[in-house]
Amino acid sequence: MAKEIVTIKNLTKTYKTHERKAGLMNAIKSLFNRKVVLKHALKDVSFTIKEGEVVGLIGPNGAGKSTTIKALSGVLHPTSGVVRVLGYVPWKHRVKYVKHIGVVFGQKQQLWWDLPAIDTFDLNRDMYEVPEKIFRPRLKRIMKMLDIEEVAKTPVRDMSLGERMKCKLAAALLHKPKLVFLDEPSIGLDVIAKDIMRDFIIDANKKDKTSFIVTTHDMQDIEHLCERVIIINHGVVVWDGPLKEIKKKYLKNKIIDVKCESPIGKFRHKGCKIVSNDKYELRIEVDTMKTKIKEVVSHIMKNYEFADLVINDPPIEEVIQKIYREKKK
């Protein structure tokens, strides 16, 4: 039985923001009279995570994923609720606690902007008190895996978005943290870099037993990395369970987009539902329980002169809607 390393109970976060309408007059008005709006970022969030787990935290924009990560990493004071990570209360024991975790915020700057990434790595060695003997080979291995041996020598400000992301990932894992939070780690990465990143995460999980909590919009990330998924919407946990189950229950359908150069006309196939048909562009939803994707595609290939064909998972929002509908029943 693996150890429980994260415990969250009834985590609630409410904060005040100021509402302002657009326009110059309203901007001036707001100087004197601001309307305070309470925003409920998290409402009663509870879950636990065990050692060695890789958990995907997903949900639409503004659902509360980042807020959860911030509360877990000790940056945010929650309004109420209990949080225990690795035996610490993150925001209370911040300085002691952050030594044991790694955090990557996809949209935040986390490396010394004016220095080569390699300098940040070296500085972090002292900051996290990693002995040189352990640090050097580990750095070498990580840099090789992420393929950043050369870019790490250029100042961070001159790096591309993807290079910077890889360096951030390296910096977050150098001190061998027990738990790593990744907030949108695949932003700005191309397909190859995404693969590298995923392999790297899986490797750290297997070798060092590092646990990961990943938020992302990329269902591919989730499929590759996570065995367990927590879906958050409007600050509430709507689903917490194995990915397999989600796939079985809610991702039975695939979306196929077909583009043709000549008018498509009618389309009919077993297990397919036409979502839209704009003469040249066709979108169909395929129920994979009733028919195989392969069959549908070969049917299209035989009978239509298509220019483009894309197969997608339905968007996460749809999955959430389905879960809602089911709960109401």
């Binding site: 923001t17 940056v75 004071h77 952050v98």
Partner: protein, 273 residues
């Protein structure tokens, strides 16, 4: 031992960031002595015109020495950390610093020390050399007073840093504090005796000034170095009394900074970071 590593890490960061902009330092090296040259000719004319040997307690040579030391002390005491703090808040990367296993204040202090180090080596040392050869500046001869004034310089740095840190913390509420920073800079320069020694100020202000933190940032350590305080004198001419006042201000400003910091972090972590 463990903390020493963290401190070294932050100092190295500051030192490396400073080195990343070498040209900026080269410019400082050339432009900084210019103000002393301007003061030199301005005050030469004033002393010649009035025909006085001593104005407000300073001979011409002493006044020029004061300006030379003031330039160096000002450079060491002046802190730019509020600029960095404002930048962090505006660009939303304060989080970066909260994820480090070190307190925010300590992080800023040691980064600043690293940044400053280059200033002291590249700008201050050559300036002293120039002053000795060109302006005839004499270094202090009394060893105990020299050591004491170096201690006072360190305390002056802490006082200046704490006030700058407090200014920087205001960015957590106002986000942009550019105007405030400029105001702070002008006030501190003038009230610490950076433009003229405080003996040129009206006597009521000189009395009041003993109880404010400003003169302890520049005027007091310089005059201690120039041997203007003694162990036997009474009141604010006694070196131990001014030293005591300095220590008092370090403690008071530290407590205020810690209190404001608590509020700032509460505001930051409460507002969704």
């Amino acid at each position: 031992m463990k903390t020493a590593l963290k401190i070294r890490s932050q100092m190295l960061a500051g030192w490396k960031v400073a080195l990343a902009y070498k040209f900026d330092f080269l410019v400082q090296l050339i432009t900084n002595p210019i103000s002393v040259i301007v003061y030199y000719f301005l005050w030469k004319a004033i002393y010649a015109y009035t025909g006085l040997d001593v104005i407000s307690g300073y001979t011409f040579q002493q006044l020029i020495d004061y300006f030379v030391f003031s330039l160096i002390v000002g450079m060491i005491v002046y802190s730019d950390i509020d600029n960095w703090m404002e930048h962090n808040v505006v660009h939303g990367n304060v989080i970066q610093f909260f994820l480090k296993p070190i307190s925010y204040l300590a992080e800023k202090i040691w980064f600043e020390v690293g940044l400053k180090f280059l200033d002291i080596v590249i700008v201050a040392l050559p300036l002293i050399m120039i002053a000795i050869t060109v302006f005839g500046t004499k270094l202090a001869t009394s060893l105990p007073m020299t050591l004491l004034s170096f201690l006072m310089l360190i305390l002056a740095v802490i006082i200046g840093f704490m006030m700058t840190y407090l200014t920087g913390l205001i960015a957590f509420w106002l986000i942009r504090i550019h105007g405030l920073r400029r105001m702070k800079r002008a006030f501190l320069l003038f009230l610490s005796g950076g433009i003229i020694p405080l003996t040129f100020f009206p006597s009521w202000y000189q009395q009041l000034s003993h109880f404010l933190p400003f003169e302890y940032m520049r005027f007091v350590p310089i005059n201690a170095y120039m041997g203007r305080y003694s162990i036997t004198a009474t009141g604010f001419d006694n070196v131990f009394i001014v030293l005591g006042m300095q220590i008092l201000w370090v403690v008071v400003l530290y407590l205020i900074a810690k209190f404001v910091e608590m509020q700032a972090f509460k505001k930051f972590s409460g507002a969704g970071a």
